[in-house]
Symmetry: C2
Subunit: 430 residues, 2 copies
């Protein structure tokens, strides 16, 4: 029986165990080969001594490459110099697959590492990030389960252009023109009339021509939608969700956070209520702090960085001018010209992670707004208009980018490391 390395590290001295995994590091010191083996749970130093193993095991240890797959049986020994404080003194070494010399070594270019992403995903760096992403997504679902949401699967191939035509991926659908969804929000809205509180977690697609550290052509999008929620309830749900996920990560996975390069202490400060700032005030603040932006412009990375550089918690910016936001956002009757919306900006320049709003729920208001935006209410979005035609109700919702949330929580430099196989303008391989 093979043990996982994390379990072996809990053993006392003198236990006989077998492990299997991949060669992570290796060096030779006279008559000892040190092989550091990794599996999904950790790394373990194994000392292969020439006079303690048979000839075949010695030869095996000698010829193993970095990333060769291997099985080692031996006896545990406390050793403060070994990672985890324990070493395995090998008795038997078996090569599962020697393979070829691994093409990834130190100081390789980002582009090369993306070319061999299928191999680079074995690295401790990316493996840790992927573990953390798994937990982040799990805690998000756990939060919505506790809040009695239903998860549903939206369609990916659609006829609707919900975020404008510039970033659409077009495809041929059995001879008909169709698109990859840019957002599943409009479909999520359908479900609230039967299930009230729902979310979808699915890929969204944007043919983004910009190369930035926070844009992907394909990303995972969490989109909750809630019947009977106004914008205040919507924002509270958002901050509670973010607090829940962040504090769960701090509580349950602080070592993993540290391994990813995030000090958990910084995240402990992420507590509700998050600060809020009116769009108009945010414009003034950006200009005051050395930025340059006019009323009616949307924030870019620079402005978001200025607004959040001193913050430890995310910042809500709300009440944007209706012209620069999506057609479905409800105008605030108390502040005409602006919508009941929010962008949630992550601290320290990590940028927007959530966009949310109260939706226009009355038919006349929707038809008027669609006209202003040049959208045809009788075309491919007729079904969406129908939702206001039969027993509509007030509702709100938001969209969260999983990779953006992950980038912030783990304090990553680039969004591409928050997803296993990043798709950008220059890349859809491997």
């Amino acid at each position: 029986m093979f043990k996982h390395i994390s379990d072996v590290l809990k053993e006392k001295e003198g236990e006989k165990v077998s492990i299997r995994g991949w060669v992570y590091r290796e060096r030779t010191s006279g008559n000892i080969h040190f092989l550091v083996i990794r599996d999904a749970t950790g790394v373990l130093q194994c000392a292969v001594k020439k006079d303690k193993v048979d000839e075949k095991s010695w030869a095996t240890a000698e010829q193993a490459y970095i990333e060769s797959s291997i099985e080692i049986t031996g006896t545990t020994k406390k050793d403060a110099r070994a990672p985890g404080g324990l070493e395995l003194q090998a008795e038997r070494v078996v090569l599962v697959s020697k393979g070829e010399p691994f093409p990834i070594s130190k100081d390789l270019s980002d582009e090369f590492l993306l070319d061999v992403r299928h191999l680079w995903l074995r690295s401790q760096k990316i493996t840790n990030i992927m573990k953390a992403r798994h937990h982040i997504v799990n805690y998000l679902r756990e939060f919505f389960d506790k809040e009695d949401f239903y998860e549903l699967a939206p369609p990916i191939i659609t006829k609707s252009q919900c975020e404008g035509g510039a970033t659409l991926f077009e495809m041929d659908y059995f001879g008909e023109k169709a698109y990859l969804t840019q957002s599943s929000q409009l479909y999520a809205e359908v479900f609230i009339f039967g299930l009230e509180k729902v979310y979808v977690l699915a890929p969204s697609f944007r043919a983004e021509k910009s190369r930035t550290v926070r844009h992907l052509a394909e990303y995972w999008h969490l989109e909750p939608e809630m019947a009977w929620y106004d914008q205040e309830m919507n924002m509270r749900l958002q901050e509670n969700m973010v607090e829940y996920v962040v504090q769960k990560m701090v509580k349950e996975h602080s070592e993993l956070l540290e391994a990813c390069g995030r000090n958990p202490e910084e995240l402990k400060k992420v507590r509700v209520p998050f600060p809020r700032m009116d769009y108009e005030d945010a414009i003034a603040k950006v200009n005051e702090l050395g930025g340059k932006i006019e009323y009616g412009q949307d924030f870019g990375a620079d402005e978001e960085a200025i607004l959040t550089k001193e913050l430890d918690v995310p910042l809500f910016v709300h009440h944007f001018p209706k012209e620069i936001k999506a057609f479905y956002m409800r105008e605030d009757p108390k502040k005409p010209g602006t919508v009941l919306n929010d962008d949630l900006l992550a601290p320290r320049g990590h940028g927007e992670i959530i966009g949310g709003s109260e939706r226009i729920w009355e038919l006349d208001e929707l038809l008027t707004r669609m006209k202003e935006f040049g959208l045809d209410p009788n075309g491919d979005m007729k079904w969406y208009v129908d939702l206001r035609r039969y027993g509509s109700v007030p509702h709100s919702g938001f969209g969260l980018g999983i990779e953006r949330l992950t980038k912030w929580i783990l304090n990553l430099d680039h969004i591409r490391d928050a997803i296993p196989f990043p798709r950008t303008i220059t890349r859809c391989y491997p």
Copy 2:
């Protein structure tokens, strides 16, 4: 404060409550309007008596359409004739949105119901199925959580054709030719070298030209992949997973199962181990029972129906000829010409829900097989071949169609009802 209907139904007589929802049924009997209201949790009969409410409430009840959204305040009264045994005696009725007459009534064609799918999703039938689907997916995840799997997000846009070219959706990716993924398995295999046991749950796409009750052009695909698993471990994992989900549904959601048209008693019989049949024996059995199939042909719906019509539990069929299965399946050294694979067929003709196999993990074997299949190991699948080039390990995995599993568990006639917005050759709207 509004209460959910499921909570109101637990109240004793004489409680004053407010509810909100949609008009599900309505009839008038002299000076009483009976409005049956639905929300996400249930239905409640409300009696609006002319002499017990103000004029406005009476008029509101009178003019409400089916599916109008409405708020009602009243007092609970036990009534054996009402659904759930409780009636709300209305004191105040407020219309949220009257809307227009709802276009869905009885005896409408399937095609029409698909045209108004965005409205039909409010029906009790589809709402119940969507609730059940939510739970099924949750229990699948719960199972893999308990088994220490990591969930990862695979890419949707790819350069690889993993299941052959005939059913590929092609797209333009910034001027380059790319495809929508037919399966994420090849990518799932990447992750096992870092995380060992992983699964992906993501949309897959097949440009299926056949119109059947079990094919969709877009479906959700659960694809686990496990390092160090042989085919025997793989099949055990599959049956344990299916048993877990089915028995959880029986235990926690038997009413919902019944509402969807499935007798929970039938599902109680779904216990491991599931019966197993060699492909060769299955061929003989089909012919014996009146079907007609030759060795070397794959099973279609008819043959699967013959094999499973008397069964209460799913059936494994294993050891298919290697020519008719995917290139990545490992040949059984003990039975040359056949692969270490399984198709898991749901009982009573519901058909294949899982396809699984041990994967070829040695480089030479993979290169030979790819040559036989006419696949270029140095082309767009080079990255996949690389996985065998650097420290490969034995591994297995499988693919489960979420909609097919749902169709069987809920005993649905057609797979299109197992997904909110079915995509078929004739339809990608709404």
